[in-house]
């Protein structure tokens, strides 16, 4: 009994420590955003400002086209995720279900694209997009992000489809569905947790990109994504870290909301009851 008590104490202590480590940077981001710039470097540091600058968010929104940048980020992420999921669902399902000659090698070949660093792809992609006259257009980063997202999501979804009993689509086919119909009507609804997790991964990847946006969106700031926009707030000699932190919080909020919305899908168990 004593041992159980000690186990619980250790467990909770570890959990609290881990949470503290993970949450502290976010907490410090909030503290930085709400503090006056001249209070940021004082020692000992203040863990909560005397007079929090609650108006900083409204001020940032008024001074910079943050909402437009967020809109651009959202369009790019939604476009990249839609394109990637369409390709990945079909590719992952095919790799999971159809045994074709060279299928395994093809799957591994898709994964090699993920092994290349993004910076390595920037130059050839820039060349391609310039030829297609996409430089400066959001389409450039939608396509570029898709090249990053598709390899990983294809394998992620293949792994998920592998866990779904084949009998489900066989039952659907006996019930009158075509193979594609069985996938759409039965396998995809059952895969909702896997699809949500995969889409969220792709969304975060696209949302957090800076390198591609910096390279391809070189024209007017109305085309910038949020990450790109925030970096322009950093001056060569002077940077207002409080404003940058406030803008960062505004940019992080959508991801947080999307995560909260998708959380119920991320929890597995929807397939419970399909079989024994």
């Amino acid at each position: 009994m004593k041992r159980n008590c000690l186990d619980s104490v250790l467990l909770y202590a570890t959990a609290i420590l881990t949470c503290a480590l993970l949450v502290f940077p976010i907490y410090w981001l909030v503290v930085t955003a709400l503090s006056e710039p001249d209070q940021l470097r004082q020692l000992p540091p203040k863990f909560w400002p005397d007079q929090p600058r609650w108006g900083v968010f409204a001020q940032i929104l008024a001074e910079r086209p943050i909402l437009q940048w967020l809109g651009n980020s959202a369009l790019a992420a939604i476009g990249a995720v839609t394109l990637s999921m369409t390709v990945s669902v079909l590719a992952g399902y095919s790799l999971s279900r159809f045994k074709v000659r060279g299928g395994q090698s093809l799957g591994l070949f898709i994964l090699t694209a993920k092994m290349l660093p993004a910076t390595l792809l920037v130059i050839p992609l820039f060349g391609i997009f310039r030829q297609l006259e996409l430089i400066g257009s959001l389409w450039s980063i939608i396509l570029a992000h898709a090249t990053l997202i598709i390899p990983f999501t294809t394998w992620m979804l293949k792994g998920y489809f592998d866990t779904i009993p084949r009998e489900l689509e066989q039952a659907a086919m006996v019930d009158g569905c075509s193979p594609l119909g069985a996938m759409v009507r039965v396998i995809l609804p059952v895969s909702a947790p896997g699809l949500a997790a995969t889409a969220l991964y792709g969304f975060v990847l696209s949302w957090s990109d800076y390198a591609y946006a910096r390279t391809f969106l070189t024209n007017a700031q109305t085309n910038w994504t949020a990450n790109l926009g925030i970096t322009t707030m950093k001056g060569e000699y002077v940077s207002n870290w409080s404003d940058i932190s406030a803008a960062s919080i505004l940019v992080a909020l959508p991801i947080l909301l999307i995560y909260l919305f998708l959380e119920r899908y991320l929890v597995g168990g929807l397939t419970a009851g399909s079989d024994k």
């Binding site: 489900l168 086919m173 006996v174 019930d175 075509s178 929807l270 009851g273 024994k276």
Partner: protein, 375 residues
């Protein structure tokens, strides 16, 4: 409803042939059970019938229609899967009505047929639940309901009871038989359980290594097994096997079993004279006490099941069969032992030494080389 004709169907995966020249005629309304050990090709045959696997060669007809190249949904069959394969995101009602919806049946008709099928199966109170909220037995009924609601030409069932506990399995087995009698739909049922095959089938098709071993009524299969494999597979406990050379004796033949000459009463036994034969004796055909052929034994093990007892005794070395002819793992090593199934309603303890006996007319005779039955 319709009959089913399977003609010379084979199935190969690369160089591996899992189904060899399978032919079977199933009459309208018949309940046929495909039975055999794991890997014998029975489930593959069922999937070929359903259209879920493509035959390497051969032809499948349902009714008068050649369905060999038709998609599963165009064959007008319904299938019950081993793991039920219920759609987890749909309610029981939608699960059962899914096939009708795919065929464009109007909503009112779907509802009427689902409700009717649910009443037959006693699951009408579960219609608005999701599969995860059901017990194993209830899921099994929903899977059956999904099949019957379509009113198909034939039911295909792939080991539908194997995930149920023993008690529920016996109960559901009887229910499926009753359902078949009520609906009269042609049914092909796959199982590895010989008890299910014996109790449910109009005809049993017993398979081994992709080949049909025998097609017969359950009683015929029990009484007149075509070969050693069938003899060993059908019956619980399985048939005992003893080996002995056959010698001529007057107009007939005899074998030496348990140290004594035993006349062989099957008509063609003398064709085996001078050669080894395998003799099959069912455990229930061995009696306690003296009889036509009696022998004294010291039981190695006695298992009591209440009203009956299984007595395990060692076979004389000269009667041991070198290799057990039946494939199931639990029966490996049976070549050295004989099981007697003794009815013992009073539960009286058995003595340390026992006299057992059997009637030579009960002996099944098999050619030791071809393993075929000699009659």
């Amino acid at each position: 409803m319709a009959g089913i004709r399977i003609e010379h169907v084979t199935k190969s995966y690369g160089g591996l042939t899992v189904l060899k020249d399978f032919s079977l005629d199933i009459t309208d309304g018949e309940f046929v059970v495909l039975v055999g050990p794991s890997g014998c090709g029975k489930s593959t045959m069922l999937k070929i019938l359903a259209g879920l696997e493509e035959a390497s060669s051969g032809k499948v007809s349902i009714g008068e229609r050649d369905v060999t190249d038709l998609a599963p949904g165009d064959r007008d069959i319904a299938m019950v899967f081993q793991n039920y394969a219920l759609y987890p995101h749909l309610t029981v009602r939608k699960n059962m009505g899914f096939g009708l919806k795919m065929r464009g049946t109007e909503a009112g008709e779907i509802d009427r047929r689902v409700t009717e099928a649910a009443k037959i199966l006693g699951i009408d109170h579960l219609l608005d639940r999701r599969p995860r909220a059901l017990s194993g037995g209830q899921r099994q009924r929903v899977a059956l309901g999904r099949a019957i609601v379509r009113e198909p030409l034939a039911f295909l069932m792939d080991e539908p009871l194997s995930n149920l506990d023993a008690k529920l399995r016996v109960h559901t087995r009887a229910e499926i038989s009753a359902l078949h009698k009520r609906l009269g739909v042609t049914t092909i049922y796959v199982t590895h359980d010989q008890t299910e095959a014996m109790t449910m089938a109009d005809r049993i098709v017993i398979m081994k290594d992709g080949e049909i071993q025998q097609i017969a009524h359950p009683d015929t299969m029990f009484r007149e097994p075509a070969n050693l494999f069938v003899a060993g597979f059908i019956g619980s406990p399985g048939m005992n096997f003893l080996q002995s050379p056959v010698t001529s004796a007057g107009n007939g033949a005899q074998a030496r079993l348990f140290g004594q000459e035993v006349p062989l009463l099957v008509a063609n036994a003398s064709t085996l004279a001078g050669r080894d034969a395998v003799f099959g004796l069912r455990p229930e055909h061995i009696s306690a006490g003296p009889g036509p052929v009696s022998f004294e034994v010291q039981p190695r093990l006695i298992e009591s099941l209440g009203s009956e007892q299984y007595v395990y005794v060692d076979l004389p070395p000269e009667n041991r069969v070198g290799q057990t002819p039946h494939a199931t793992a639990e029966e490996d090593g049976r070549g050295n032992a004989l099981i007697a199934r003794l009815i013992n309603p009073d539960g009286a303890p058995l003595a340390e030494r026992l006299t057992l006996s059997f009637d030579p007319a009960r002996l099944h005779v098999f050619d030791a080389v071809t393993q075929e039955a000699i009659r």
